[in-house]
């Protein structure tokens, strides 16, 4: 009975989303106050019904209702409690419901924190978000009903995909989706501005905090996903250029461009058309990502169970949303660039460079992701574009970005003497080179990437510190939240690149066949293999290895890599053992049993500074959040309403 109620709740949410998309928009076009006033109640109403549906599905998981097909496929009575709630978003239908719920929450948040928005603007923004919500609810109800019954009911569930039985599942998808979906707010503001015909800097001021928060969530989500892949998949890498990773990375890159171009439009009134386009593009790429993951067009480790019917549905939806908004852009975008003129050497120019490099990177990722599909469509055979393509192009595009980054904040708007920021930064560039030189002569096996790591890390960090110093000299040490966020994020970029380059250049891995008692030496660490035992988990059996790691005769850590066989479905999963630290990670994955004398294949890694990658991303995300709390946004909104 309850699952049917959930289904009904979804249908009601669909109806309310339809009304939300129509009534307030009509009200705004006709300047009809009562119609516009329906926006908020409708927004809350649809959120309520989505939340009810979501709660019902969660309940079905908690009571092991295997008469619901989705629960039967993705749960099991042995599934530990901590995974029963996240199991809701463990597969296509439920994760789509989570997507819709998060969209509903964003809509509710916009409805709540918009007290001072002019009514027609709020009505249009909520209506545009209502269309998006309507599309996804329809997709859910017509192609992917999570409440479909399985009759007769299964006696036992098939269990949640073991790959997903990890704390990563609890947090990674909700955070990632919050980021993905959050770009809908900037999109809605942009489209509402186009419809309303007022494409000035005002919509940007209102949407900036939302964009920053969404981008920060997306940063966190991607970093969590990367961390999850690193320790759960047992591959020892942190990024694989997998189509689904790329799908989240493209909106991230465009989103990063967007938060910078929004700053320009808001403060200088320049880049109006470009900012509109980026706002549309960031959300469009989020939608495209959804399409790629769920249509089965590309194959990937992440791919959801795909059904040919679903692909077409999302494609039509994509066509309506993206095609419609781009058409609107073509018709309504400002005819010519307004705003203050700027000279060739100015902060605007640097931010334009930032934008071009980031969007070029996104375009390159898009091309690389879709190239196999293109090649197949043109009958060039099955081709896959691997890390070499992405690695090379990324290095080419990120190098100028790194070089130019410290200049941006130190250059004045509109016009600047080229010599001023050059003079400010020259001594710091010297220090960065000096640090690299010291690193080159002191570390034993430094390749060009190691040197690059020190140069890039020091240059970005010192360049950011130079800006901090500038504020103490000129601004009497006053920092706005926006500046603090910027410094935090830019330092995060420094930490991130340092981690990436160090890990890439200094990591070492070794595949060995180990007899019990045998030792292996790697980068000064001795790994002694002490055999493998059987052990029993709640819903799996494991082969559990033991390794003692020592350095210069002193014990460092005991590691237990596992190989788990899950009771249901019979899938086997490696659980790598990792000893992490700020300076290096020790990583051991258990391979196959080689003979009956207790020999096993082992993969040993030493990965220097790998955690800095995620720590850097965390700093970027914190920076994004901090900017959103700048007083200027609250004040600006307040002024706008008077």
């Amino acid at each position: 009975m309850l699952p049917e109620l959930g289904h009904v709740a979804l249908i009601l949410a669909l109806l309310l989303a339809f009304l939300l998309g129509v009534l307030p928009m009509l009200g705004a076009q006709r300047e009809h106050a009562a119609l516009m006033a329906t926006a908020r109640p409708l927004a809350y109403g649809q959120l309520l019904f989505i939340a009810i549906a979501y709660a019902v599905l969660t309940h079905a998981f908690l009571v092991h209702d295997f008469s619901v097909a989705y629960v039967a496929s993705n749960s099991n009575s042995l599934l530990p409690l901590m995974y029963q709630v996240p199991a809701v978003w463990g597969a296509h239908e439920g994760s789509l419901l989570l997507w819709v719920l998060i969209l509903g929450l964003w809509i509710g948040a916009v409805a709540t924190f918009s007290k001072s928005l002019p009514m027609p603007v709020l009505a249009r923004v909520l209506a545009v978000m209502g269309w998006v919500s309507f599309g996804f609810l329809a997709f859910l109800i017509f192609t992917s009903n999570p409440f479909a019954r399985l009759l007769p009911a299964a006696v036992e569930g098939r269990d949640l995909n073991p790959l997903l039985q990890d704390p990563g599942l609890i947090i990674h998808p909700p955070v990632l989706y919050t980021g993905y979906v959050g770009f809908a707010v900037a999109f809605a503001f942009a489209v509402a501005a186009l419809i309303g015909g007022k494409v000035d800097a005002q919509w940007v001021r209102w949407s900036r905090p939302w964009t920053n928060v969404a981008w920060a969530f997306l940063t966190l989500g991607i970093a969590l996903g990367s961390w999850w892949a690193y320790y759960e998949l047992g591959w020892g890498g942190w990024w694989f250029w997998d189509p689904v990773e790329n799908a989240s990375f493209m909106p991230w890159l465009v989103g990063a461009a967007l938060i910078h171009s929004q700053a320009v439009t808001e403060k200088r009134d320049s880049f109006r058309g470009w900012t509109l386009l980026l706002a549309i593009a960031a959300f469009s790429l989020s939608l495209l990502g959804t399409f790629l993951v769920r249509s089965g067009v590309l194959t990937s480790v992440h791919a959801f169970a795909s059904d040919p019917k679903r692909g077409l549905f999302i494609l039509i939806f994509l066509g309506l949303v993206i095609g419609g908004s781009l058409l609107l852009y073509a018709l309504r975008a400002p005819r010519e660039e307004q705003g203050q003129p700027f000279a060739a050497f100015s902060r605007e120019t640097f931010l334009l460079g930032n934008n071009l490099l980031l969007t070029a990177a996104a375009a390159m990722v898009l091309l690389g992701t879709l190239y196999p599909l293109l090649a197949e469509a043109l009958d060039l055979g099955k081709i896959s574009v691997g890390p070499p393509y992405f690695g090379l192009l990324f290095t080419l595009l990120m190098a100028p970005l790194v070089l130019l980054l410290p200049f941006g904040p130190l250059t004045r708007w509109q016009r600047e003497q080229a010599s001023t920021p050059l003079r400010m930064l020259a001594p710091w560039a010297g220090i960065a080179l000096l640090i690299a030189a010291i690193a080159f002569f002191t570390s034993a096996n430094a390749g060009w990437k190691t040197i690059a790591a020190y140069i890039v890390g020091a240059w970005l960090l010192l360049g950011t510190l130079r800006f901090v110093r500038q504020r103490f000299v000129q601004g009497k040490g006053r920092f706005t939240a926006e500046m603090i966020g910027m410094c935090l994020a830019h330092s995060g970029v420094a930490v991130f690149f340092f981690g990436v380059l160090m890990t890439e250049s200094m990591s070492i891995e070794k595949d060995v066949a180990a007899k019990p008692g045998q030792s292996f030496s790697l980068r000064g660490y001795d790994f002694r293999f002490d055999g493998v035992e059987r052990s029993q988990g709640p819903n799996y059996q494991a082969d559990r290895g033991t390794l003692l790691v020592t350095r210069n005769g002193k014990d460092v850590v005991v590691l237990h890599p596992e190989k788990r066989a899950y009771a249901s479905g019979g899938s086997i999963l490696t659980e790598a053992a990792i000893d992490g630290g700020p300076g290096r990670d020790l990583y051991v994955a258990l391979g196959d049993s080689l003979d009956d004398q207790g020999s096993w294949a082992l993969r040993l890694h030493v990965k220097p500074f790998v955690r800095w990658i995620w720590f850097g991303a965390l700093m970027m995300a914190l920076g994004g959040f901090t900017v959103a709390f700048d007083k200027r946004f609250r004040r600006a909104v307040g002024e706008a309403s008077t």
């Binding site: 058309g273 059904d307 692909g311 993206i322 781009l326 058409l327 073509a330 599909l373 019979g570 899938s571």
Partner: protein, 180 residues
């Protein structure tokens, strides 16, 4: 105006590509992945029968009449999509369908067959997927059409639909009947 239409044009191109992608994905083209086995004898194997691990079937014992080797697993959602098509094919009785239960627990496989119906003349169980390496199987569903001499004639990856049965399997079967 033209300049501002550029993003829309780019998107239309992209949407066209994605549409082609869906068509390829849901139909014939992905099934045309060439298999090096086509025109060659099936790899030698000896696999236990599902539900009766003591009884083993080898490639020689399957010779005599053509058969469709259908790779499936209870864990595979697309196998459920093609299940009605396979069942219909089996009911017509023109072709023997041999199930190849790939990387599956026997009790799950049995439950799946009980639940949806068993279209297979016989089901081979390859629990660890080792024998599948020789076949070049890397997922499910996959299907191989094998003639009466034990030569692989055709392979498809992904769910088989009525279209594939009509346009590919049946013509091949007819051709085989003639040459025999």
């Amino acid at each position: 105006m033209i300049r501002r239409l550029l993003p829309l044009f780019a998107f239309v191109l992209l949407a066209g590509l994605l549409f082609v992608g869906i068509r390829m994905n849901s139909g014939k083209d992905t099934s045309a992945i060439p298999s090096p086995l086509i025109g060659k004898s099936v790899p030698a194997f000896s696999l236990p029968v599902l539900g009766d691990p003591t009884k083993k079937i080898s490639d020689r014992e399957l010779r005599g009449t053509p058969y469709l080797l259908n790779v499936w697993g209870s864990w595979c959602p697309n196998c459920r999509v093609e299940h009605p098509v396979i069942s219909a094919l089996a009911r017509r009785g023109k072709l023997r369908i041999v199930g190849y239960n790939y990387k599956d627990a026997p009790e799950d496989a049995q439950r799946w067959l009980d639940e949806f119906g068993n279209p297979y003349a016989i089901v081979l169980a390859d629990e660890d997927g080792r024998a599948a390496l020789d076949w070049g199987i890397y997922g499910a569903p996959e299907s191989f059409l094998v003639d009466s001499q034990g030569i692989v004639r055709w392979k498809s990856v992904g769910p088989i639909d009525d279209d594939i049965v009509r346009t590919q399997i049946e013509p091949l079967l007819a051709a085989m009947a003639v040459t025999r």
